[in-house]
Symmetry: C3
């Protein structure tokens, strides 16, 4: 495949969008480790990142509308941009809710989830420039699927601990904590949806 400057532009924009996910995952990791009073500042940075993500998505859509030829099916590029955006939305919601709900401390397992999201973000950022050789990306979606699977296991054990925890815990605190953790689990799912689109493109190209 010979790349036109226009094709390169698509891969650049997708790479930018995926780069925002690496930033978002880093902010999540920070948010979990800092004292509650500092979380609002980090949630604000996350919100700024989420706006950058919206800008990248809009630019991809604009580029799609003004390009006669695209490196892959238009709808698949649109879907990929939209799926990348979903990940950042989940991360932003997690940060926002942990501030709104004034979560005091996160249950064990949350650091592991942030670590898995960081790994998934890095893999995605590496895959975007490589998307031009999409049929060679099988290891990418397999690894993302393995990460989602691991995140799911961590999530379930975390819930079991949260609900059955010694000391009981008050129901409202448990509900609020679960809401935040649900968004982390949702972010892992959203990475899998990104990988699904990449796989769809590869199936068409093969």
């Amino acid at each position: 495949m010979r790349l036109t400057p226009r094709d390169t532009r698509f891969f650049d924009l997708l790479t930018t969008a995926a780069g925002n996910l690496v930033t978002g995952a880093g902010l999540l990791t920070e948010l979990i480790s800092v004292p509650p009073a500092e979380r609002e500042r980090i949630a604000q940075l996350m919100h700024d990142t989420e706006h950058l993500g919206d800008d990248a998505t809009q630019e991809i859509m604009l580029q799609l509308n003004t390009s006669f030829i695209t490196p892959f099916d238009r709808q698949d590029i649109q879907l990929l941009a939209s799926r990348l955006d979903d990940v950042l939305d989940d991360m932003d919601e997690a940060a926002d809710l942990s501030v709104l709900y004034k979560i005091d401390r996160f249950p064990p397992g949350v650091e592991k989830m942030a670590e898995l999201l960081t790994r998934a973000a890095e893999l995605t950022a590496e895959a975007m420039p490589g998307l031009r050789k999409v049929t060679e990306l099988a290891p990418f979606w397999q690894e993302i699927n393995a990460i989602e699977d691991e995140a799911d296991g961590v999530y379930r054990r975390l819930l079991a601990h949260l609900f059955n925890g010694d000391g009981g815990g008050d129901p409202l605190t448990i509900m609020k904590t679960k809401e935040v953790v649900d968004r982390l689990e949702s972010a892992a799912d959203s990475f899998e949806h990104v990988a699904d689109v990449v796989q769809t493109i590869a199936v068409k190209e093969s």
Copy 2:
């Protein structure tokens, strides 16, 4: 684009389906403002509206199966009908659960959410006949996205108020109220999915 009578039929059916959403949003607004004892009657009207929605969807599917030529890709028309139906399902669930759970009073912010859903329904109903000029519908999906964004903000503040509210509130009441409000938030999301399909069609046509 010159319209055949058959094309007109598709736009008419989609317009009918979107009109049901305006009715549904109106019923939601009413449901929130009336005393609890009157809610069952309104939930029944919502249920009737939801059945009308199912009929419209089925008629679109039937029309798709018997038409050789369709104004847009068959799958996109099918998807659009299905997404319109999802909005009404969310509204119906919200009404139904508020009766089943005997919700006594709704938290502040719910009126605002009903107002945003009404606006989204009106915009969607206006867009359906205009779908024939789909490439000019960018303002439609941009507005729907802005509404979804605003609804999301209202929703999060509402949750924060619900969970952190003065007086504490009993956990079961909070859980039940959240279930109903979740459906309103889901309806706003579903409007965004409608707009996504419209955007997909526009990208293909451009």
Copy 3:
């Protein structure tokens, strides 16, 4: 339509995948009826079934990547495999959470939900070999939609009973029970998504 051996292979693999859903629904039914102490063993069997499901999905993807000609659009076969997999994921989560949360007893209505899921699984398993005559499968997706509708009604009444139940019930137990029941409702939704893909294929073929 004349079937090549390669086409037959696709239908065989999809039939295997759907057969796993029948096994899964049977395990769910058993899980609900046995004493809590025996549930871990059944959840393990469910987990084994879920792994068989993953294998079937991977084999379909591999087959897609190595076939020049496929009986339907590649993406639709991929989507169908993925949707079948979603059902088993829901069932597996339901089983896993009921063990993790040490659910003591299930609320009335859960048996009915398991029964509806079993019926949906059987219909799906019957439809897969028949997929070669996809345009005759309208009764299949209509029945699945009717089952989803019935499951939804059972689910809502079950929730109302759970939350408004006499004796009150402690909030944490209610939350945990709801989590499990939510997965059963989600499995019914996932069957509808399977039926949606079958309908999409039929619309294209008609």
